[in-house]
């Protein structure tokens, strides 16, 4: 399988074409915009919390398939999780792409593993991490 075949797998293209949790949120507890100025990719995250639990999450954005699919996978993964679970998933995801760590996602997050192919294309890593960097800022507040 060629690099672009392994990158543009069904799962990534599906998230790109049918983004999960897509749309603006009216009343939210956390909100953060993220942008990669040189390529123009944009992601905006909205989170609603019930105590420590992410009870609602959504995103809007525009950009390449990798940036938008990654945002879709993020929202899908974090819906109903706690903030501390979000933080550890964030570390796991960024570790996979930025520190070459072998991902060890629980089965329910298997879509995220499809993003591993991105690390072979250094120019696109910032696309894949945009939503996650945006999340980091949102929950760091």
């Amino acid at each position: 399988m060629s690099l672009s075949d392994s990158l543009y797998q069904e799962v990534l293209l599906d998230h790109y074409q049918n983004p999960r949790h897509h749309g603006k949120m009216e009343h939210f507890d956390l909100h953060q915009e993220g942008v990669n100025p040189l390529c123009g990719d944009e992601v905006e995250l909205f989170l609603k919390l019930k105590g420590d639990i992410i009870s609602e999450i959504s995103f809007v954005g525009k950009g390449c398939s990798i940036s938008q699919a990654s945002a879709s996978m993020l929202t899908d993964s974090l819906y109903g999780k706690t903030i501390s679970e979000a933080k550890s998933l964030l570390l796991e995801f960024k570790g996979m792409l930025l520190e070459d760590k072998v991902p060890n996602f629980p089965e329910e997050y298997e879509d995220l593993e499809s993003m591993e192919a991105v690390k072979k294309i250094p120019a696109r890593i910032k696309c894949a991490t945009l939503a996650w960097n945006t999340l980091e800022k949102a929950i760091g507040k």
Partner: protein
């Protein structure tokens, strides 16, 4: 000399390398051109056998380096048809040349309420410096609008270029659409109102025979690295009478005449506008690049690019479903093709082509106002130079077919 494409390709070592296991297909010369062996060898020779600072040493090496550096200035002035060498100012790049004009000439001559005219197709380099100056001086920026085919709409030129306009600044050729602007009516109108004209020649000088005196440019800015030369060398040409009035913009070594503790007097042109040790090896290498271009001939290069452009446009039209930008009138267009694959982001196209060894540029190409005008995030851009072939175009089409296959899986739904 006849145009020997195979020989030209052999002069560029990088063209016989592999990229991701495939022969390199380089279609991004509008960003930076490849370098012929003669330029690479000239730079190597300078560092190996001729390295010394210029204008200072009284020893042989310094004299030799100075001579070669100043010879490159003479070659540059001849290449652009300037009256003499001292009107050629070396900078780091086109951007720095335009900033030099904004900071030196602009701060002296642009005042509150004055107007600066640009176009909606400018590179950020010929936009942001004027935004900064206008903000500082409370001056006004105005824009010549575009027709749908990316040529300039000159129908209201007299209303845009009024008596309040002090400068008209625009590209000779667009880096996004390849549009070669019709400068004659713009320069004529600028003369009527006494405005100066700055031409951003970053994309023009490398592809088009250009004569700054015949075409009556007041300022002309360009970079060596897009015309086979090294990075880090830019040129500002200006008419001598304008340059003579321009105050220094950077202070330091080489631009001085006499220095006391409290004040200094400044050197004559061109040194007054070139502070500090310049990019000596780069300028000398640039001299070799000019020699190479002259040995082929700018008109020959233009003809070759037109042939490629026509071939590529035909094939891309035949491919079907692509959105192509720019005029079909090839007399108003250089070897640049911007296009979009509907439903596929340019960055995704770029990554898939990269895997096939094909280098194109994707994104907004530092021309965001144009992207806003078209309502798009960016484009895929294939750009040609003297060393490109019809086979390169064929490879691009094969790559695009692969994009279609991969994204077809979701686009079909």
């Amino acid at each position: 000399m006849s145009f020997d494409l195979e020989k030209i390709r052999r002069d560029f070592p990088i063209l016989s390398t592999q990229m991701n296991g495939k022969p390199l297909v380089f279609l991004d010369s509008a960003a930076s051109s490849q370098k012929p062996k003669s330029v690479i060898d000239t730079i190597r020779k300078y560092y190996e056998a001729e390295n010394a600072n210029i204008h200072r040493g009284i020893y042989y090496l310094s004299q030799k380096a100075t001579e070669k550096y100043e010879m490159a200035r003479i070659k540059t002035s001849r290449f652009i048809g300037a009256a003499c060498a001292k009107v050629v100012i070396f900078t780091r790049n086109t951007t720095e040349s335009i900033n030099l004009v904004a900071q030196s000439w602009g701060r002296t001559n642009i005042h509150e309420g004055d107007e600066i005219v640009l176009t909606e197709l400018e590179h950020h380099s010929n936009l942001v410096p004027w935004q900064m100056l206008a903000q500082e001086k409370q001056a006004v920026l105005k824009f010549i609008p575009l027709n749908q085919d990316s040529t300039l709409d000159l129908s209201n030129l007299d209303e845009i270029i009024t008596e309040r306009v002090k400068l008209v600044a625009l590209a000779q050729m667009s880096n996004v659409t390849g549009t070669i602007h019709d400068l004659t009516p713009i320069i004529r109108r600028a003369r009527e109102v006494g405005a100066k004209v700055l031409i951003d020649g970053a994309q023009g000088i490398c592809h088009l025979p250009t004569n700054v005196q015949k075409e009556d440019f007041d300022f002309y800015a360009f970079s060596a690295h897009k015309m086979l030369g090294p990075t880090g060398v830019g040129v500002l040409y200006a008419k001598e009478e304008i340059l003579e009035t321009m105050p220094p913009w950077m202070g330091g070594g080489d631009m001085i005449s006499k220095v006391w503790k409290e004040k200094s007097t400044y050197a004559d042109l061109p040194a007054r506008l070139e502070a500090g040790t310049p990019n000596i090896s780069g300028v000398i290498g640039f001299g070799a690049a000019i020699e190479y271009l002259e040995s082929i001939g700018m008109q020959e290069i233009r003809n070759h690019e037109l042939e490629l452009l026509q071939y590529a446009l035909d094939r891309l039209e035949d491919f079907g479903g692509l959105e192509l930008y720019g005029t079909n009138d090839l007399s108003k267009r250089g070897g640049v093709i911007s296009f979009n694959f509907p439903g596929v982001h340019p960055h995704d196209v770029g990554s898939i082509l990269d895997e096939e060894g094909i280098a194109i540029r994707v994104g907004h190409h530092c021309a965001q106002p144009f992207m806003d005008f078209k309502g798009i995030a960016g484009t895929c851009r294939a750009s040609f130079y003297l060393y490109n072939t019809k086979e390169d175009v064929d490879s691009l089409l094969v790559g695009l077919k692969k994009v279609k296959e991969i994204f077809g899986r979701v686009l079909k739904r």
